[in-house]
């Protein structure tokens, strides 16, 4: 009566591996695979297929069900649900399962799944009950029961997960400590490190829609604090911020003591071992200092949304004529200290667009900045000081890439295109994605991090950095 299982399909819609489906008939998973493949075939764009597909029962004795599915790279993960289940539970579980697979296999692809089918089977068994209830999904606990593939162990320990205790002690000794004897479901007991370290990454993403006059129509900054804890014993951390009022709509990892946070805005927690997301938040620029931050969050009726300055401006002149058009786009950084990195601007030119003639160049400004892309080899497309363009004919998307946009520099792209239709129908928006390192929009500052440990005393190394990215839809 809940999540009936997981099916993983390859990009041709054929099943690679699936969980047991022991409480259902053999036809049941097949029915769902067919339903999803049917829906995908019917849809013009596979991205537009509804994420929850109704699956009719194949005979009168069976109840009908629904199939939740998500795409991950080339794969598609299916989660059939029967009964009245929250589809969000299915999606949340799929996401968690995919994250677990990533942690175990590094990359999730048809090849890695086939190579490690025994691991995947074990993960199916441990994470999802045949009755449809998700079971153990905390990686700390899972690693006690499903031992990650040995070849990848090294790689994983480099990326910050600690398997040493499990592997060295082998299965027998690991059991002596006792799986799940830990009172905290997210942390295992008996973790030991020579160097105790804890790192926090403050990652913020800016999303905005801008109209042709450069006015921001809607924008928000969504942030999260990713942590990587390598601490011995059972450390009790408390983290406070100098400006917690910028945080709003916080969603916290279960390890955080809610009461403490709601009262004092202090994150007090016993961290899981390894990587985890400590909290999600929305940045609120409504940062009037208030005597009691806790009360303020209660009293703000409607959280005013973020008002972050746009990191760049775009001037786009697009002229459309019969069977084609020309464009002239200029992007100018408005930052004076930070460089925008990995800038990618996408322009959808509409069905049947082609015959692109385009040139990209660097304009004035931002002198003296060492351009990382400058020495790169010119690729087949036109390139100038690292900027390049390409055209995906199938999706009719013109892509303009600039590896680094130094402060206050300006870049331009101009050219023309033709369409098979008489009236060109490009989308009236340019989507720009960019990264900024060592920068956060909210300027969230960590005040103090205390790590307390009852049994052993150590001073852990603490590191905090910020990085941000953005996605702006600029209409013209």
């Amino acid at each position: 009566m809940a999540l009936d299982g997981i099916i993983i399909l390859d990009n041709n819609g054929r099943p690679i591996i699936q969980s047991g489906f022991r409480s259902t008939t053999t036809a049941y998973p097949l029915l769902h695979i067919d339903a999803v493949n049917d829906a995908l075939q019917k849809a013009e764009r596979s991205a537009d297929v509804d994420p929850v597909i109704y699956v009719a029962s194949y005979n009168a004795a069976n109840v009908s069900s629904a199939c939740c599915h998500v795409r991950v790279g080339d794969l598609r993960f299916l989660c059939p649900v029967s009964g009245d289940v929250d589809p969000l539970l299915a999606f949340a579980f799929l996401q968690t399962f995919i994250d677990i697979l990533r942690e175990y296999l590094g990359t999730v692809s048809a090849a890695t799944l086939r190579d490690n089918f025994d691991i995947v089977y074990q993960l199916f068994e441990e994470t999802l009950d045949t009755g449809g209830h998700p079971l153990t999904t905390y990686s700390n606990a899972l690693r006690d029961i499903v031992i990650p593939p040995s070849l990848l162990n090294k790689l994983l320990s480099v990326t910050g997960t600690n398997f040493n205790s499990t592997i060295n002690s082998g299965f027998g000794a690991g059991a002596a400590i006792g799986p799940f004897s830990s009172p905290l479901p997210w942390r295992k007991t008996g973790v030991r490190y020579n160097n105790n370290e804890i790192y926090f990454d403050i990652v913020e993403q800016f999303k905005a829609i801008v109209n042709k006059n450069g006015t921001v129509l809607s924008s928000n900054v969504h942030g999260k604090i990713e942590a990587n804890a390598k601490l011995s014993g059972t450390p009790d951390c408390s983290l406070n911020f100098t400006n917690p009022q910028v945080l709003e709509d916080c969603a916290l990892h279960p390890c955080v003591r809610l009461l403490r946070w709601n009262r004092d805005k202090i994150l007090s927690f016993v961290p899981p071992d390894g990587r985890f997301t400590l909290m999600d938040y929305t940045y609120s620029s409504n940062s009037l200092p208030s005597p009691s931050p806790a009360q303020q969050s209660l009293s703000s009726v409607t959280p005013s949304r973020t008002n972050v300055a746009l990191p760049f401006t775009i001037k786009a002149i697009v002229e459309l004529e019969d069977s084609g058009g020309s464009f002239d786009v200029t992007l100018t950084s408005r930052y004076s200290t930070h460089a925008l990195e990995n800038v990618v601007a996408d322009m959808h030119l509409g069905q049947g667009a082609g015959g692109i003639r385009c040139s990209v160049s660097r304009g004035s400004g931002g002198g003296g900045f060492i351009n990382a892309g400058g020495s790169r080899n010119m690729d087949t497309f036109g390139a100038s000081s690292g900027a390049s363009w390409s055209f995906d004919a199938q999706r009719a998307v013109l892509r303009w890439e600039i590896p680094i946009v130094p402060p206050s520099s300006s870049w331009s792209m101009h050219g023309s295109f033709s369409t098979t239709n008489r009236i060109p129908r490009p989308s009236h928006a340019i989507r720009v994605h960019f990264d900024i390192s060592s920068h956060t929009y909210s300027a969230l500052k960590v005040g103090q991090l205390k790590v307390m440990n009852a049994k052993e005393n150590y001073k852990p190394f603490k590191g905090i950095r910020g990085r941000s990215s953005g996605e702006v839809e600029w209409r013209w």
Partner: protein, 734 residues
């Protein structure tokens, strides 16, 4: 029993390796067996060889062997018996992982004979010192109940589970709750269940306390299970409701969306019992941010969140009143997300934000995706109908869009314009020439029919109305039936308004329609008009030019009673489909019946049982009308599918689009049942369809065919009295 594989080939090699003296080789062989199993090869012949490897210290190997057993248990239960001893022995193993594994696997095997051996180890594992074993055993009880309920009852496992709710480990509590809920659902779905069946999981006040304590400490999945159980609890008084709400609200801050949604559901249910206004306000206010936060998730999650937000908004329109901007569509959002956002934006539209909305909608109308463009233009029409003060601005935007001369934009704008004319009669006559200038570009029946309706309606104000309608009269037989019907009505209107100049055209069309037309609907209508005009032109005027009831956008897409029920199901499939669970989980008629039964049984919480019954009755209509709601309609039980095919033939489509599910409704309404409440409750989710398609015809139909009940379901009829009038006239005629 086992059939030996031939002495060569892959299976033989595997069999040799499985019996190898080297550990590694054996383990590798087991992996290869499982690999063959994965790709669908039959390796059941290796059963005895695999079984030999079950006794091992290597946990991974043991798991693989168990996996093999589970796979073949269904097809070869007699072989599994051979493994029973090992299972029982493993359930006593010093290693808790092995104990848990054994008990879990035995529960899954679903073989009758194994089950008899399961009870003793299960008894022991429920009291195991290790929480991992206990929680695994708890779930095993639910599975045992599924196979042999009497064993669970006889062994007192249910009582034991009840004791385990007080377990010190929150994960054990969560799994116990999940198991008890499963057993409860299984037991209550049996018709013979009495209310004192021990299998029923009735949540008492003391259980409530324990659940609230465990809630804050267990994993996200455990929280969802506990929250779902809390949703079932019936609070004693408003103090208790308040207490539950206050304890559940912190869950809004959980990082997992399904926890948030489950918490929203609990709050929505228990808020009904809260009397303190300030607390209700506070709860509603706290509900908004976590829902909005879900919108920064992947599109699938966004969609589920949006569907639920849409539902919540219908009950509490104040939740997100200042948040319209977060629903602005990005051009690379999938269509299903955009459509849902659009609907919510129109729902949130008010005089203060209508300008932002309109400029946004205009932007969407220039996008690439045709479906989305059409829906955006429809949304402009809805905004105009919804907000009187903004109508003029909406019309202005529509005119700008017509100026683009993109065919489908123009056609959709014309369709939308018709609704605006309907809502604000005699206000925007000035733009009629602009619309008529685009006459040649219209090739879609709906757009044509709309323009013809406008011309007919304002025939006296348009100088060359007879010329314009003449174009359609000339091509009458080539047009689709909806266009024919509209042309017919429009010409008769023209005749009634300008009898002198249009005698010839009305003669011509009545002739053509009665003699050369294939559609019985068109023919019949022509006959009725003919008779009306020839016997009593005054009556004809009263019928054809009757005052039409004003249209408005329904505030809800579902009936109020159904809304209440769905809100109780927030965070479930029902809330995503916007249909009660029974309509898609149950089957056909049975589903409808059980819905009624459920309503009968339940206390009068939703006092509007009648409306629910209408929903059940109109369920079929809903499926038919719901062209846009693909996931729900696709593959409805076959009984309905047959009728659905019908709807593709124009005549039937017209009939279905215009009429309610039940022909009886029409009859009833013709015989003067006052204000039939029927169709709106079963209204399609898609207000667009309602405004566009249906009202075109119903606006003409309603009066001329004399069945006011055919007013399209989603166009709410404001004062029912007005309905009565043309109907009386018609009855007078008969």
């Amino acid at each position: 029993m086992s059939i030996r594989a031939p002495r060569k080939g892959e299976n033989y090699e595997l069999s040799v390796d499985l019996n190898s003296e080297y550990r590694e080789k054996r383990k590798d062989a087991i992996k290869r067996v499982i690999a063959s199993m994965t790709v669908g090869k039959d390796v059941s012949g290796l059963f005895p060889d695999v079984l030999k490897n079950m006794q091992t210290d290597d946990l991974e190997q043991k798991k693989l062997v168990y996996l093999y057993l589970m796979n073949y248990a269904k097809t070869q239960p007699e072989l599994v018996i051979l493994a029973v001893n090992t299972f029982v022995k493993d359930s006593d193993d010093p290693n808790p992982l092995v104990r848990a594994l054994a008990i879990r696997t035995m529960g899954v095997l679903r073989a009758e004979k194994i089950i008899d051996y399961l009870c003793d180890p299960l008894q022991k594992c429920l009291r195991d010192e290790n929480p991992y074993v206990r929680k695994t055993a708890a779930l095993c009880v639910a599975k045992l109940y599924d196979l042999k309920p009497e064993l669970v009852i006889d062994n007192g496992f249910v009582e034991q589970l009840h004791e385990m709710i007080a377990d010190s480990n929150p994960m054990v509590v969560a799994n116990t709750v999940a198991a008890l809920t499963d057993i409860h659902i299984a037991a209550s779905s049996q018709p013979s269940t009495s209310s004192d069946d021990p299998a029923l999981f009735l949540i008492s006040a003391s259980i409530l306390t324990k659940l609230l304590i465990a809630l804050n400490e267990c994993s996200e999945w455990g929280r969802v299970a506990i929250l779902n159980a809390l949703a079932r609890y019936v609070a004693k008084d408003d103090k208790e409701s308040e207490h539950i709400c206050e304890r559940v609200v912190p869950q809004f801050q959980h990082v997992n969306g399904s926890v948030v949604l489950a918490a929203v559901k609990v709050i929505m249910i228990h808020m009904r019992g809260v009397r303190r206004e300030d607390l209700i306000k506070q709860l509603v206010r706290k509900m908004a941010p976590p829902l909005v936060t879900l919108l920064s998730s992947p599109p699938e999650v966004q969609w589920v969140a949006l569907r639920n937000i849409n539902l919540l908004l219908q009950k509490r329109s104040d939740i997100l009143s200042n948040e319209m901007r977060v629903f602005f569509c990005k051009y690379n959002d999938p269509l299903y997300v955009k459509v849902e956002k659009l609907d919510i934006m129109v729902r949130l539209a008010g005089e203060n934000n209508v300008d932002a909305l309109l400029s946004e909608l205009k932007e969407y109308a220039s996008e690439v995706d045709v479906d989305f463009v059409r829906k955006s233009i429809k949304a402009i029409g809805q905004t105009a109908v919804k907000i009187d003060a903004a109508a003029e601005r909406c019309v202005h935007v529509l005119l700008e869009l017509i100026d683009t001369r993109v065919s489908y934009v123009v056609q959709e704008a014309v369709v939308v314009m018709k609704d605006i004319f309907r809502k604000y009669p005699s206000t925007y006559e000035g733009i009629i020439p602009t619309l008529c200038a685009n006459l040649d570009e219209l090739d879609e029946p709906e757009a044509k029919a709309s323009l013809i309706w406008i011309i007919g309606e304002y025939a006296n104000k348009i100088d060359n109305a007879d010329e314009l309608l003449g174009i359609f009269v000339d091509t009458f037989t080539e047009e689709s039936y909806p266009v024919q019907l509209q042309t017919l009505t429009a010409v008769v209107k023209l005749f009634l308004k300008k009898p002198d100049s249009s005698q010839g055209i009305v003669q011509r069309i009545l002739n053509t329609a009665t003699k050369d037309c294939d559609s019985p609907d068109v023919r019949d209508r022509a006959y009725i008009y003919w008779r009306l005009l020839s016997t009593d032109p005054g009556a004809a005027k009263a019928v054809v030019l009757a005052q039409r009831p004003p249209i408005s956008i329904p505030r809800t897409t579902v009936a109020p009673a159904l809304l209440e029920e769905l809100l109780g199901e927030v965070s479930s499939l029902a809330s995503v489909y916007h249909k009660p669970e029974e309509t898609f989980v149950g089957r056909g008629r049975v589903g409808a019946d059980s819905l009624q039964r459920k309503t009968d049984a339940s206390d009068d919480r939703f006092s509007t049982q009648k409306a629910l019954q209408t929903v059940a009755a109109g369920q079929q209509a809903e499926n038919l009308l719901d062209f846009d709601d693909a996931p729900a309609v696709e593959g409805q039980p076959s009984g309905l599918a047959a009728t659905e095919v019908l709807s593709h033939t124009p005549a039937a489509a017209n009939l279905l689009a215009g009429t309610s599910s039940n022909p009886l409704d029409d009859l009833v309404s013709i015989f003067g049942a006052p204000a039939t409440p029927a169709p709106p409750s079963a209204g399609p989710h898609d207000i667009f369809g309602g405004l566009g398609m249906n009202s075109t015809f119903s606006s003409g139909n309603a009066v001329s065919l004399g069945s006011p009940a055919v007013q399209s379901p989603s166009v709410a009829i404001a004062p029912p009295q007005q309905n009565q009038q043309p109907q009386d006239d018609l009855l007078g005629l008969f």
